[in-house]
């Protein structure tokens, strides 16, 4: 399978970047890291700055794999149109080459149309076949002097490739984008110059083909017919001057191809006047006049073909560099490279976290509103530390009249807890208050204790949970809610919650 071109890769990379936007970042990381691991090791060093060549290589490798994965998945990913755009470019290139060859051929056939009546005017042939091309090349150089980006759309009108593009726009049904539109649409902002460079590059193909057509036609005519060249002008131009000009023009090939450089005698013998219908010095060997074809051919190659080949090379390099830079400067390109190169570090679970089973909210916990003093047995739960004991003033403020104090929980053993329950049961209290640390959550062992406590007590015995605040603090709403939620599950009509005040 043919390797996709740089242009195709550019378009497909932009399409994939757009397609990836809404996707989960973790998935993209995994995908791209898997691709990156497949890169040769010298590309894969994370943290080391890679040069542009490596970056481009890696991005092209990335899109190649992503395309494959998309194809394997039944093309459910981004729409890759890079290949079709490249095909459109190739077709345009073919048309330009064909047009150039045909144009050059027929122009030469026209300019060198020889019926034997008068020799072919060398000056006219040089001006049309070489001079005009030099003029167009000069225009290109002038406009490109400010950089390829300064070649505006205006000049592009004279570009053969731009003409083909305009024709395609007219021929396509309304709304169908042609390849330049699709390329421009795929480019990030500010990269419109890439399309211009493509058109200039394609235009150079036409001009190269044009010159090849000219050369082919000239060789054909020289081979299948006899041509005779002379020179004729209304300007006051003597033979010596003409010889000097022609000789200077032949400077590039004088040494390499001396046969293609004219002698003074030939220049002198080739002048003719149409009114006289004869050569200046007639008769002359027609074969000698025909030898001008070598000069003409050398001039076309030197001043027509070779400069355009050079322009083609420069424009081609410029165009490909523009594409490459556009790929690398694309938004998110650096992120793709980072995802490929950096080791995938994960520190969290990928699956959903199991949430606590939500059950119906328990009935609201009864809050004790101390209207009158209540006489209670007091249990201090896990309050062994002296600084954490409940004070008499706190109990008084809570309208609690303590009868006896018991200790449970904390570093008491379970047997000791059971012993406390037994003693309380023996006393048959009307109310029991359990002082707990408000800041500590109610554990299952506390709930066990409450449940066991309730069993021997009378059904109408109130059990009041007194929330003890930290020193210099109050019981806040969160602490109250924490205790209320847990104790409400007991569904005990005689279980109450009350916050003690700050000591």
């Amino acid at each position: 399978m043919q390797k996709p071109s740089l242009l195709a890769d550019l378009i497909d990379i932009q399409a994939q970047i757009a397609h990836d936007q809404p996707h989960d970042r973790a998935q993209l990381q995994q995908r791209d890291r898997a691709i990156g691991i497949g890169l040769p090791s010298h590309h894969n060093a994370a943290g080391k700055p890679a040069d542009n060549r490596k970056n481009l290589h890696d991005l092209r490798h990335w899109i190649k794999i992503v395309r494959q994965q998309s194809a394997d998945a039944g093309n459910r990913g981004a729409t890759f149109s890079g290949d079709s755009v490249q095909q459109s470019v190739n077709i345009t290139l073919f048309v330009l080459w064909l047009g150039g060859l045909i144009g050059g051929w027929f122009l030469t056939q026209t300019v060198l149309h020889y019926d034997g009546a008068q020799p072919l005017n060398l000056i006219n042939s040089l001006l049309v076949l070489v001079g005009f091309q030099l003029f167009m090349l000069l225009l290109l150089i002038i406009f490109a002097a400010g950089g390829f980006d300064s070649i505006s759309t205006t000049v592009a009108i004279f570009n053969p490739a731009a003409i083909v593009v305009r024709l395609l726009r007219k021929l396509h049904p309304s709304g169908t984008p042609i390849f330049t539109t699709r390329l421009t649409a795929a480019l990030p902002t500010g990269a419109e110059f890439t399309t211009r460079r493509l058109l200039v590059y394609l235009g150079q193909h036409f001009t190269v083909a044009f010159n090849v057509g000219i050369i082919a036609a000239l060789i054909y005519l020289v081979t299948v017919s006899d041509l005779a060249f002379g020179w004729s002008t209304s300007l006051k131009l003597d033979t010596d001057t003409m010889y000097r000009w022609l000789h200077r023009l032949a400077t590039p090939w004088n040494t390499l191809l001396p046969l293609a450089s004219p002698e003074r005698e030939l220049v002198e013998a080739s002048r003719y006047y149409r009114l006289q219908s004869q050569l200046q010095n007639s008769p002359l060997d027609p074969w000698l006049l025909a030898t001008w074809w070598r000069y003409l051919l050398a001039a076309i190659v030197t001043y027509g073909l070779l400069p355009r080949l050079l322009a083609l090379l420069i424009c081609g390099l410029s165009y490909h560099r523009a594409i490459a830079n556009t790929i690398m400067a694309s938004p998110n390109a650096s992120q793709i490279l980072a995802r490929m190169r950096a080791p995938l570090v994960t520190t969290n679970r990928n699956d959903c976290h199991a949430r606590r089973q939500t059950t119906a909210p328990p009935a609201a916990m009864r809050q004790r509103r101390p209207n009158a003093m209540l006489s209670c047995q007091i249990i201090e739960w896990a309050l062994a530390q002296p600084k954490q004991r409940v004070s008499a003033s706190q109990l008084k403020a809570a309208n609690i009249q303590p009868q006896q104090f018991f200790a449970a929980g904390g570093n008491s053993s379970i047997r000791q807890d059971q012993s406390v329950i037994a003693r309380l049961a023996a006393d048959s209290p009307t109310a029991v208050a359990i002082v707990v640390k408000a800041w500590e959550p109610p554990l299952a062992e506390f709930v066990d204790f409450i449940t066991e406590l309730r069993l021997p007590l009378a059904a109408d015995c109130a059990v009041i949970i007194l929330l003890l605040p930290l020193a210099d603090s109050v019981v806040d709403a969160q602490q109250r809610a924490m205790w209320a939620t847990e104790l409400a599950r007991l569904n005990d009509a005689k279980l109450y919650l009350q916050a003690l005040q700050c000591p």
Binding site: A46, G190, N325, V345, N348, R349, A384, P441, Q478
Partner: protein, 472 residues
């Protein structure tokens, strides 16, 4: 008990002491279930730290002890010789596995008997109590390497209260605030784990290095994302077709388009902020921020038309060149001098475009309009705009860098007046950086594509500014 092959740490302790917050912070996972109510974690969950699929260590979030005294009494009933204690703990887990009474204890001890190290978490903002002794004793009986973390959940400080009792049970005691610990403190803690067991030293060191590298990569990616956003917003132009209508209708249309443009800018910034947060693994966090505002008078809007895809200036230039060529032909063929022919051609060509082209806009050829009117809104031509965007993005990034994954409150991006913030940001850079950035912004405002070096310069400034402002 033998150690697990992969360093494994069971985060254990009383309920509601911040165990899950510790896990969220160390695992950099804001999805860890943290709630103010006790008992949120009901089943153990493992958080493996992996590099390219290879696990370097794992954290296990466990439910809190619920019946530590009863469990301890069970174990003590089986014998208390030091040599047998670890086996007794294993026996407890094996025999009580199906007993719902001890489900919490079994679940939190299971990873421990399978070789996990112990990270025992207490709340340093609450005082020590004797009720903690049984669970600490159970953990000591397991014989596994252990560390105690004093995690201050609120403002009170009882850290000193805890030092003595904890050091009696644990090899290492460290203070670590899960909600405010910086990234560097987190890595420090991880390195501290490495001393618990010699076999775990190498993978934990490798993990620390990988996390540091990941942090830097995230910062680079965030800087690149901000750069992309900046450039896109500086270059944003929205073009819409304008149907032939009365001026008053068109004015209303312009107002609508300007509003839409402003909304688009806001959306671009919000989208970039969300992506930056996602880079640091903050998904679905609430954000309190002042939205980006742009004044309508700062926007460049232009009503223009295009004919043959060319605007007026381009058409005139074309006409001039064509006129020169045509005039030249006339000059050659008609006996008029070359220069005069070319000049006349240029003038005629330009004049015809100037006076006649507007009429052609509405003309159709085979039903296809030759041209049309369009409205272009944008760019924001306030020269400070780039600095405003930069300073806002850096402020947001700094707050993301300073946040950690145990927090559940909204990310509060402070309200700083945009232009003041922009000035402060610009002033904090060197003269050279400021000039470089200004020329890059100017190039972007001219809708020229920035080269790789320029993009890297913006990203470097973003990283530098964000790095300066983050807490150690």
């Amino acid at each position: 008990m033998p150690l697990a092959r992969i360093p494994t740490f069971a985060i254990v302790g009383h309920p509601n002491k911040g165990k899950s917050s510790i896990v969220a912070t160390l695992a950099q996972d804001s999805a860890v279930d943290i709630a103010a109510t006790a008992g949120t974690t009901v089943t153990p969950r493992a958080y493996p730290m992996q590099i390219d699929g290879k696990t370097l260590y794992q954290l296990i979030d466990t439910p809190g002890f619920q019946r530590a005294r009863a469990a301890m009494e069970w174990m003590q009933g089986k014998g208390s010789e030091a040599a047998n204690r670890a086996a007794v703990v294993r026996q407890f887990v094996a025999e009580q596995r199906d007993n719902p009474k001890f489900s919490a204890e079994v679940q939190l001890l299971d990873p421990v008997i399978n070789g996990a190290g112990i990270l025992y978490v207490v709340d340093g903002s609450k005082p020590y109590g004797a009720e903690y002794d049984p669970e600490m004793e159970i953990l000591r009986w397991s014989g596994q390497p252990s560390m105690a973390l004093i995690n201050k959940i609120s403002d009170n400080d009882y850290t000193q209260d805890w030092q003595s009792p904890l050091s009696q049970y644990f090899k290492i005691v460290r203070a670590f605030n899960a909600q405010s610990a910086s990234f560097e403190r987190q890595v420090q803690l991880l390195t501290g784990f490495a001393v618990l067991a010699d076999d775990w030293y190498a993978p934990l060191q490798q993990a620390s290095s990988a996390l540091i590298q990941q942090r830097q990569q995230r910062l680079n990616s965030a800087a690149n994302r901000i750069t992309d956003m900046l450039v896109a917003m500086l270059q944003l132009v929205e073009v819409s077709p304008l149907a032939p209508a009365a001026d008053s209708d068109n004015n209303a249309n312009i107002t609508t388009q300007v509003y839409k443009y402003q909304q688009r800018l806001k959306t671009m910034e919000l989208s970039a902020r969300a992506e930056v947060e996602a880079l640091f693994n903050y998904t679905d966090i609430d954000r309190l921020e002042n939205p980006l505002t742009t004044l309508a008078e700062d926007l460049f809007s232009q009503r223009s038309w295009k004919l043959f895809g060319l605007n007026r200036a381009q058409l005139m230039t074309t006409a001039i060149i064509s006129g020169v060529a045509t005039g030249s032909l006339f000059g050659i063929g008609g006996g008029v001098t070359l220069l005069l022919g070319a000049t006349l051609g240029a003038v005629i060509g330009a004049a015809s475009v100037w006076y006649g082209s507007e009429q052609l806009v509405d003309t159709k050829i085979k039903g296809t309009p030759m041209g049309g009117h369009q409205l272009a809104v944008g760019l924001v031509n306030n020269p400070n705009f780039g600095w405003v965007l930069l300073s806002r993005a850096v402020t947001h990034l700094t707050h993301v860098l300073n946040r950690n994954h145990a927090r559940r409150d909204a990310l509060q991006v402070p309200h700083i007046e945009n232009h003041h913030n922009a000035i402060v940001t610009a002033a904090s850079l060197s003269t050279k950086q400021r000039q470089q950035l200004e020329s890059i912004f100017a190039k972007a405002r001219n809708r020229k594509m920035l080269d790789l070096k320029q993009l890297a310069q913006i990203a470097a400034v973003v990283s530098e500014l964000a790095g300066r402002n983050r807490q150690a």
